[in-house]
Subunit: 201 residues, 2 copies
DNA sequence: ACCGAATTAGGACGATCGACCTAATCTCGG
DNA sequence: CCGAGATTAGGTCGATCGTCCTAATTCGGT
């Protein structure tokens, strides 16, 4: 129990610091101080920095999978579930403005460091990609197109996050979020009837 | 002369290393080795790491301003000039896939480091934003809308760069680039006649 | 040819990095 | 209640960080 608690505290603190300061710029000392433990204790739980990174990525994946499961329950239709995804930009607007997207900035940093965990971090995009594609497919899209629409939406959310982080232009973000919502509606409009009848059947 | 040469070599090497490895992860030693000079010589030209960063940002801004001036000359119409911007994604596709967008990744990193040069780095976006807005305005768009269209295009290019860097999915990139080109055409279509007559007048 | 300034080389500094180790403390089943 | 294993604290290691310094070398003007 104590093991789990301390370990989870470390991962949570590392997750937060990696997000706010970046992985490379965050040291053992930073994390240990944030948790309030010694570096030796830290080393007992994670032998290398890469192990912490792996645990943090695992937690981020799990957190997002859990979030999408909540959307799956709360959203009555695929379209509403997709809009839940877009809502992240609104809900986390302030953090994104300060630190960027937790997914995009991590993968970018690991790409530059040419870090071994690159592939694992890209799984973060993968879970969003496949979940969104499943929603588009559930709305009646053919599978290949569903994946393309998922990627398009991911692309727009990444672009908005990057530019909001750089420009701090909240009006821009609000405008683009609205355009994104309209785009979802337009993308699903031609197949709306088919999707509804399929759902009713 | 010699001063300029060495200095320029340092800035060029730093620019390259900051792009490929990130600012924080690149040390004096890295840059000095790349140029083939001693750290002491290095320190003669730049007293602090922040000074190098400022010089690199200045160079990146100048490079991009020069690039846009070339587009201005080569592109007969505003639409063609805007398409030149989109072409960066194709021309630099391989580098973007490896290291991301030089503009977006730098601003993201500096945001996380909460670095003093944050604002300067954001000027990189600013030059693209104002140049693109000028093109849309020249094509007949009202000024406010021209800026919004510029930001929308910047957003899409950033999103594509981030996702291409993460996923290495070149088909996705090619598809989105084509969609971007179509979007430009559609955005300018309603005002095409007005823009042409204005140009002829 | 010569001198002052610009340039270059390379060593040294305190701090901090990731990593490792030992020893003290805590926890809990037998 | 005690001893083994889990947990924690804190010191230490070599490497590297950004920065600073001095001394050697090169260069340009007179």
């Amino acid at each position: 129990m104590s093991r789990n608690t301390t370990r989870q505290e470390i991962v949570a603190a590392a997750d937060d610091l990696f997000y706010r300061q970046g992985f490379d710029h965050t040291s053992y000392a930073h994390i240990a101080d944030a948790v309030g433990i010694s570096r030796g204790n830290f080393y007992h739980h994670f032998k290398t920095k890469d192990e912490i990174l792996a645990a943090v990525i695992e937690k981020r994946v799990a957190d997002r999978v859990a979030m999408m499961e909540r959307w799956e329950i709360a959203g009555a239709t695929p379209e509403k579930r997709i809009l839940s995804f877009i809502d992240i930009l609104t809900v986390n607007g302030d953090k994104i403005m300060q630190y960027g997207c937790p997914v995009g900035t991590l993968t970018s940093e690991l790409a530059k460091l040419n870090h071994a965990a690159r592939g694992e971090a890209n799984r973060l995009f993968g879970v969003f990609r496949s979940w969104l594609a499943r929603q588009f497919a559930a709305a009646g899209c053919e599978e290949t197109q569903a994946d393309q629409l998922a990627m398009h939406l991911l692309m727009r959310s990444q672009g908005v996050a990057t530019l909001l982080n750089a420009s701090h232009d909240t009006q821009f973000a609000a405008r683009e979020i609205e355009l994104m919502r309209e785009w979802v509606g337009a993308a699903l409009a031609p197949i709306g009837d088919r999707a509804r009848s399929g759902k009713a059947a």
